[in-house]
Amino acid sequence: MSATTDSYEEVLERFDPVFGIEVHVELNTQTKLFCGCANGFGAEPNTQVCPVCLGLPGSLPVTNAKAVESAIRLGLALGCSIRESSRFARKNYFYPDLAKDYQISQYDEPTCYDGAIDVILGDGTTVTIGIERAHIEEDAGKNTHVGGTGGIQGADYSLVDYNRGGVPLVEIVTKPVTGMGLRTAEVARAYVATIRDIVKALGISDGRMEQGSLRADVNLSLRPQAGPGGDQNEIPFGKRSETKNVNSLRAIEKAIHFEVARQGALLSAGKAVTQETRHWHEDTNSTTPGRSKEEADDYRYFPEPDLMPVEPTEEWIEELRATLPEHPGVIRARLQAEWGFADLEMRDVVAADAVGIIEDTVAAGASPQAARKWWMGELARIANETGTDLADLPVTPEDVAELQDLVASGALNDKLARQALAGTLAGEGSPRAVAEARGLAIVSDGAALESAVDAALASQPDVLAKIQDGKVQAAGAIVGAVMKATGGQADAALVRAIILRRAGVEG
């Protein structure tokens, strides 16, 4: 390990970064890819399994029509061609997360291939990312390692839950992306965000990275800059690393920063980059080497004899093409008009990756401006402080809409609403539940407020005279004192009215 690490910016002065991303999208079908077991999260272990997904002898897989349909729609949305005939293949490997000792995937004949998708960056620049393929495959089960430190290394043994084994996935593989320079990390992040937006708009996946329904592997390599007069395309790609388990948008950017700096330091020191799989560590924002990548030959791919080829008719493909949603960029422009956001406001919302969140919050009943205020204000501040993405905060769009409803109905003021929100973020329940449990409510009991106002006026006798003198703004000091006395729960407008009435002044 080199002691000196060059910064991302320094490395990119000398090298051209090349990246590729594999995104696994978990489809939200009712059932698994090759059997009728439920495709659902959170059931008791090994209760959504059957002879097919447990790989028991004599069982035969049958393809889920809906999964094929979702894969084709996704392929079309990514501008891919759809193969007239595609087939499944067995990918053999020894790891107990699949009971069969092989994963059913697609190899030489993926259903969708050769597409391209426009990605719009924060400042409005459009970058086109080439899509190599989008193929259908089954997900693996979940291992729990027992003993040691809880990781696979040093474990005494492992426990396997096959509920997720056989759940349909589409794996989207980009073509190598070159020449993005300093914007490499930003482009990679925006690409994954775009894929997420597309699968959500298609309604084929909930696209939630924090729950693993959208997962990304990031390949990165460096090659020297061609320099003045040189042809960058003539310089071969360098050795690449493949960073697994990069499961938030923020982590995509950080993983690329880390790998650029790490590989740049190695190359600058005259050392070689090893082609390998690396693991992403959220806590340290760094990657460490995993097992050395098995060669494709080692997987001994061969056509799956138990499954017939997928041969969608031209008619069916065109029918599916007609169901495609608009591109996220078009949707974004329409939402901006609907919400009445200024260009700058919308740009900030896009940069914070809050378009979908605000859309969901508005759908849950909040006004667009209120939704923007909460997500881009208080919540953005908290996300920033804690180093998380907005989407990963433990608060839902429904919570925010409920919070805003509490404010709009006069049950909470802004200060109390922020306390309720803090409670929600701390896992105490929805804002309404927090407000009830913590006793947060605006005090609008006239008698109680009147005595609080009288007490405050008595302690600051000069204020009353000032108000009566026409300096109505002096009432603010009394409002402040009453708020303090009531723990911020007084209805400020009512308090003000009482003060003015006491002073004999019209409000």
Partner: protein
């Protein structure tokens, strides 16, 4: 003619996590070569004008509707497992010192 040498058999054994000693390797490389050579005879008739066939039966799009069918109970699912714990299949250590 296609034949498997000893080193290739040793590599396959390592991938398959099968422990073979020198005598096994000698014996199996001979036997496996004979099998591979026999299968390789197909190549003599597979001329370029014969397309490769993975699915000899002319069927495609054998799909099922996306409808949930009953799964096994956890008890039945684990019944044939050599070891189980907490409703899960218990498997031996996955990574040894080689990792």
């Amino acid at each position: 003619m296609a034949s498997l040498d000893r080193a290739e058999v040793a590599r396959l054994a390592a991938l398959a996590r099968i422990d073979l000693d020198d005598r096994d390797l000698d014996r199996l490389s001979g036997q496996l070569s004979a099998i591979v050579d026999a299968v390789a005879k197909v190549q003599e008739v597979a001329t370029p004008d014969v397309p490769a066939t993975s699915h000899p039966i002319p069927m495609s799009n054998v799909h099922r509707p996306d409808e949930v069918r009953p799964s096994l109970s956890q008890e039945d699912a684990l019944a044939a497992a050599p070891a189980a714990e907490s409703g899960r299949f218990r498997v031996p250590q996955i990574l040894g010192e080689e990792a």
